[in-house]
Symmetry: C2
Subunit: 604 residues, 2 copies
């Protein structure tokens, strides 16, 4: 089955995406317009992205001290993407948008991630603009966000600093008011930034005429000191080139200097940068510091940024998923084509060799990839559907969707990053030695995918977020809601004899997850509860994926026979080979096992 | 604890390596001579290998159509290694050897694998020469093996072919008698080879004046056809440059042509080649075909080659282990040095950040790496000790050691390849974004290590070997012996209250392994039994590693407090976080679950 067929099945047979068109915002849409968008994106991805995926890996971005050079193909891919209107797909008509449901937008963008994950740089620009639509002033939206939706300018998110990494409490970039009258700048209260930001994706390039940096920084108090902790963080727009209130470039360079490109082992089509703000290379408007405009209220920077971070996290999950899917497709094609070895039942050594796909262990590696990547795609679209519900559902449904998204976001980010990476490793393994060479695409997928467990919040950060915050907030309402939704699926599955076995195994797993959550927090001490966050994250992820497969299987009744058989096999695989891993993971969580946290440095 | 300290502990406190010196072959040795060897190798590895590990990754071998160029550092590393005498370390004094126990040889060689796995190319040369010492004629040994032990010539093993990969039954390289008198050549029955060999490590270079290829090929029958299956395979010596019976080069090039270098995603310091035998580029002695000499009997090629393959498999396990160890050391150092975030108990945001190693989840990642890589090293040395027993023990002990080695070899090859790769991924994760950049060494370890699940027999091949052959041969005697040895450890552990818990969990796991083996084979049908070979391999590997840790823990009583605490923590980690995975793996084996083998290509 092609990825498109799987997308169509998930969108229409499973998620009933067409039903969204009964809502006013989407009333002009229908399966036909959705298909047009999917067709267009599939075509652009095939023509402008996929053929250049290896090229952008070998021709890394180059910085000569003055400017960054990217391959011509990257420029053309960006032009085609911006030209497709996808940057504004979800926006209002009046902004040049399509008012497309996010579910369909996410599905359409998946093609780009699969064709070339690191050329695919649109996600941060859209996320940046969406943040401004939520937290910016009308003029900030008009000047910055609208140009980003048109693809004229690009966007970044600047959180990490070299000395602090994931530790945002230690952000040391300073934002000082830019002298007299700065509070009344039409573009927002004007500040000067001084500091360094690390790991900034697409932080410097010439794909667009300007780059809109969204920067976390701290405004010094009256004593000149920065407020410790995350409470002191504010959010700023800091454009690469200065901008007039009418949105035109003033012609002056802002003091945002590229200090260096990070040379990574994958994801090489996108620049990844260390940026210096206010180092003194330029003196915009004759004064030191990078000119920047406050977004929202002082001290609310992290809360605002979470708008973008949550989007970015789901986008990373989708990127990881699509890398998994790309490796699955490549290794499936190879296994069908390559003849090697004989069936166990074949005793005659002079018989011709069979295709790799005839061997049980190769089938296992393909089925695992199918279960990981197709299952992850289901999760990503399920989350996308929740975003639509949050934006266009009834107030009650919207609140529920928002709550469920809170719980699912760390899983949607981390699970595909871990298991679709494993899928890529299996794709290499199916190819044997060839898979390890650069003559085949799978080793690059594997290298590209390794980044996804790190950027936009490491696995460890997601795990802390889930067990430390998401499942306990509002008295555990999020986890309760998740359990309710899973139980609805279990009820439905119990009606189908072929699925009852899995309904029971899932019911048991959900019960264990709840019990382990309670046991972890039984002492009320974070040190106890959070002694085993990653095993908890892994367990919760596997429960959610087992739920996804069972829910998808419940909708497979009307599908063609081969598809139905494939869904049932993947569901069976996931429930028999994967779901039982939850037991060992939750065991250490529930017992608050302390061997890791008690380790002393000198014992290593 | 440094790796050297861990090696010393394993060698002396655990394996009692000094006791070997009571055997006549090793009577000149003692802890002092062992230490000298370890010191020398540690120093050469530090000076000649480690500093160039990144260099050989970026300056890949280059082939200009005429000759292969390797970095100067590789030439110097080879010279230092050959000069150390390590190629002949285990050989008789009369061959210039040291009569060193293999256990100590393996321990000493570990330093090279850790410093730069792909510069470290000695292993195939020694394995090649060892095969000839077992199966070659006295003159073949003198001409070829002795020069390899001196490092004058290097060796390869040529098994795979482009069209057949792991499917050795389909070897299509032809060996035809080289005309009149060829049967009486002093170097062995002389043939001409015609065919192609793929994935040949160190297949072409100028580190040595000659290269000794050991080649699997088929001698056509009277009808001119090749015998189907592996029964038809014979083994040949095929030197790059022709050799006179006195061992001098004749000055003529043999027709072994480099068709191309494979460009891999790691392990780049060693050439990996496609070789054409008898393509007609050269006409040695005026006739077509590559000149080659039969080793052993016709049709016995695979049996002979297994001598080398088993050595190579254990060497790959050691290479994987050392990559795991290298990543562990690098990430441990980073985690101690890097300050980031605060302890959960620290409520004051103005307190200084703590070292990464203070966070429970970072400790988990370090402890997992410790358990994987230090545990794998224990297994590798345990296997090496079995080799010594096989060669110098009483006949009964030697036979037992040989049997146990048969069972452990697929595990010793596969387990470190899988779990020390996982360790390398954790080493990246500890570094955060830095780990993913080429400014830190860990991403290269991860790329280098990915090859180990493929070469010298893929994971799938090892899994078939274990469940299809090793645990059922001789009526299951190998598995029974393994269980007996494990039970001895369990008995010893039950005497120590701190270890009783683990003794019980291990006892249960061994019992399950035996039961699952029986259940898998209950129908007597290979298709049923071998429907889930990889989960079986994984389960057996985890049982063996849990046994290793428990056995090591039994010997820890006299160790310094920190070391003892470290061993107990790793044992606890392995038994609580890892061993329980055995349950799910064996479940599908025991039930002969058929979802993978029943998959149809059109269901994917």
């Amino acid at each position: 089955m092609t990825m498109r067929a799987w997308l169509d099945f998930l969108l229409y047979d499973w998620l009933k995406a067409e039903q969204l068109c009964s809502r006013p915002r989407f009333e002009d849409h229908g399966r036909e317009t959705f298909s047009q968008v999917l067709d267009t994106c599939e075509r652009i991805a095939r023509e402008k992205y996929a053929p250049f995926n290896r090229l952008v890996d070998t021709q890394e971005p180059h910085f000569d001290g003055e400017r960054v050079t990217l391959p011509q193909a990257t420029h053309e891919a960006w032009a085609a993407y911006a030209g497709s209107g996808m940057l504004a797909a979800a926006q209002d008509y009046e902004l040049g948008g399509m008012q497309l449901p996010y579910t369909v937008e996410a599905a359409a963008n998946a093609f780009f991630a699969k064709a070339s994950v690191s050329i695919n740089a649109g996600l941060l620009t859209v996320g940046n603009a969406n943040l401004l639509m939520a937290h910016g002033t009308p003029l900030q939206q008009q000047v910055f966000a609208h140009r980003e939706f048109k693809g004229e300018w690009a966007g970044t998110m600047c959180l990490s600093e070299p000395q602090a990494g994931s530790g945002l409490a230690d952000v040391a970039t300073r934002a000082v008011p830019d002298g007299e009258g700065s509070a009344d700048d039409p573009l927002g209260p004007r500040y000067r930034l001084f500091g360094n930001k690390m790991w900034i994706s697409a932080g410097e390039h010439e794909l667009t005429e300007n780059i809109v940096h969204l920067v976390l920084a701290k405004i010094p108090g009256p004593d000149g000191k920065l407020v410790p902790g995350t409470r002191g963080i504010s959010l700023f727009i800091c454009p690469k080139h200065l901008v007039r209130p009418d949105g035109q470039l003033s012609g002056e360079r802002n003091d945002v200097a590229l200090a260096g490109l990070n040379h990574k082992c994958g994801w090489r089509g996108t620049t990844n940068t260390l940026l210096n703000f206010g180092e003194g290379r330029w003196q915009p408007q004759g004064a030191p510091g990078a000119v920047a405009y406050l977004v929202g209220q002082p001290g609310q920077g992290l809360a605002c940024m979470f708008h973008m971070m949550n989007e970015a996290r789901i986008a990373i999950g989708m990127a990881a998923t699509m890398l998994g899917m790309a490796g699955y497709e490549a290794s499936l094609a190879y296994a069908k084509d390559r003849k090697q070895g004989r069936a166990l039942s074949q005793k005659d050594p002079s018989s011709p060799p069979v295709a790799l796909i005839e061997h049980a262990d190769v089938k296992r590696m393909l089925l695992a990839q199918k279960a990981y990547s197709e299952g992850a795609l289901a999760l990503m679209l399920y989350c996308a559907r929740l975003v639509d519900e949050q934006h266009t559902g009834t107030p009650e449904a919207a609140a529920e969707a928002a709550l469920l998204l809170e719980v699912l976001t760390p899983i949607a980010k981390s699970w595909p990053s871990e298991w679709c990476l494993e899928a890529n490793s299996l794709a290499i393994q199916v190819h044997g030695g060839y898979g390890y060479t650069r003559d085949f695409p799978v080793e690059q997928y594997w290298r590209d995918n390794r980044l996804n467990m790190i950027h936009e919040g490491t696995h460890g950060i997601q795990a802390l977020d889930l067990l430390g915050r998401k499942v306990v907030m509002q008295g555990g309402a999020g986890l309760k809601l998740l359990a309710t939704r899973i139980n609805q699926t279990i009820e439905a599955a119990l009606q189908q004899p072929a699925l009852a076995l899995y309904a029971n195994s899932l019911a048991q797993a959900v019960q264990r997850l709840g019990a382990a959550t309670k046991a972890a927090w039984a002492t009320g001490q974070p040190e106890d509860a959070l002694a085993n966050t990653t095993p908890y994250l892994q367990a919760a992820g596997h429960v959610v994926l087992a739920w996804m497969w069972l829910d998808v299987a419940c909708s497979a009744g009307q599908a063609p026979a081969d598809r139905q058989a494939g869904i049932l096999a993947a569901t069976r695989y996931f429930h028999l080979y994967e779901l039982p891993k939850v037991g060992p993971w939750l065991e250490v969580v529930a017992s608050r096992e302390a061997v890791c946290r008690d380790m002393q440095p000198e014992w290593f």
